[in-house]
Symmetry: C2
Subunit: 115 residues, 2 copies
DNA sequence: TGCATGTGCAACTCATTGGTTGCAGCTGAC
DNA sequence: GTCAGCTGCAACCAATGAGTTGCACATGCA
């Protein structure tokens, strides 16, 4: 993944960052993302078998991730396959890196003042 | 900010990622972090004047950010100054970049299979 | 000393979230 | 056509979070 555009990332829809960071704030959801990345697309039923949760609970997590733009689903016969769509992660990294930039420049200013 | 160590970031305390992503999931909290970065340390009372919220509400947000390791406070006379401590952001970036790496390698594998 | 200002703590409300159970509706295969 | 398996929807519960109000406590300064 390359560094996203700075200004655009900071001005990106605040709601998008909300839902993304919120989606990633849950360990179960991060686990689901990692599983989908490692083993490829899967259904809510299959994913639920690997957790102590109900299919419905897993499904809700998947829907949260999808609402954040991190997942997409596709109907295959009578199954629904979920897969990761990681472009939105760039927004998160963009915000963090922009914020870090502000901190870095502030530190630089302080260094110059105190030297 | 430099790229954090890969394995350590993925194996970092899950709770740390929880609290950090959770803290960043709220637009008010991201705004507070940005304000503190741009204008330097400030008190909850001062920060509250720039928002439609109560001092107590702002204080709760500051405490959430501090619990996530993103802020620190210091008593100055009868005032309490909050400032940003951005090292933990590296964990967040680490997780995201690690996850992106998994995705990238998966895409590479798929490319090789489909070509 | 007394007062204004700033912080700390507790209780309360309201909305959201994570999780469950139950049941109905599709769909593929025999 | 029927049946098993998977998905979709709704209701419900417990816990957490965001925000408020009210009041007590500490501190700097005239």
């Amino acid at each position: 993944m390359t560094r996203p555009q700075s200004k655009a990332a900071r001005q990106a829809d605040s709601g998008a960052l909300d839902s993304m960071f919120g989606a990633l704030a849950d360990p179960t959801r991060r686990l689901l993302v990692e599983r989908l990345l490692l083993k490829g697309p899967a259904t809510a039923t299959v994913l639920a078998e690997t957790t102590p949760l109900t299919r419905q609970a897993v499904l809700k997590h998947l829907q949260v991730l999808e609402a954040a733009g991190l997942l997409a689903h596709e109907r295959v016969g009578r199954e629904v396959h979920y897969r990761v769509t990681p472009q939105p992660l760039a927004s998160a990294v963009g915000w963090i890196l922009d914020t870090a930039d502000q901190w870095d420049s502030r530190i630089d200013r302080l260094r110059k003042l105190t030297q």
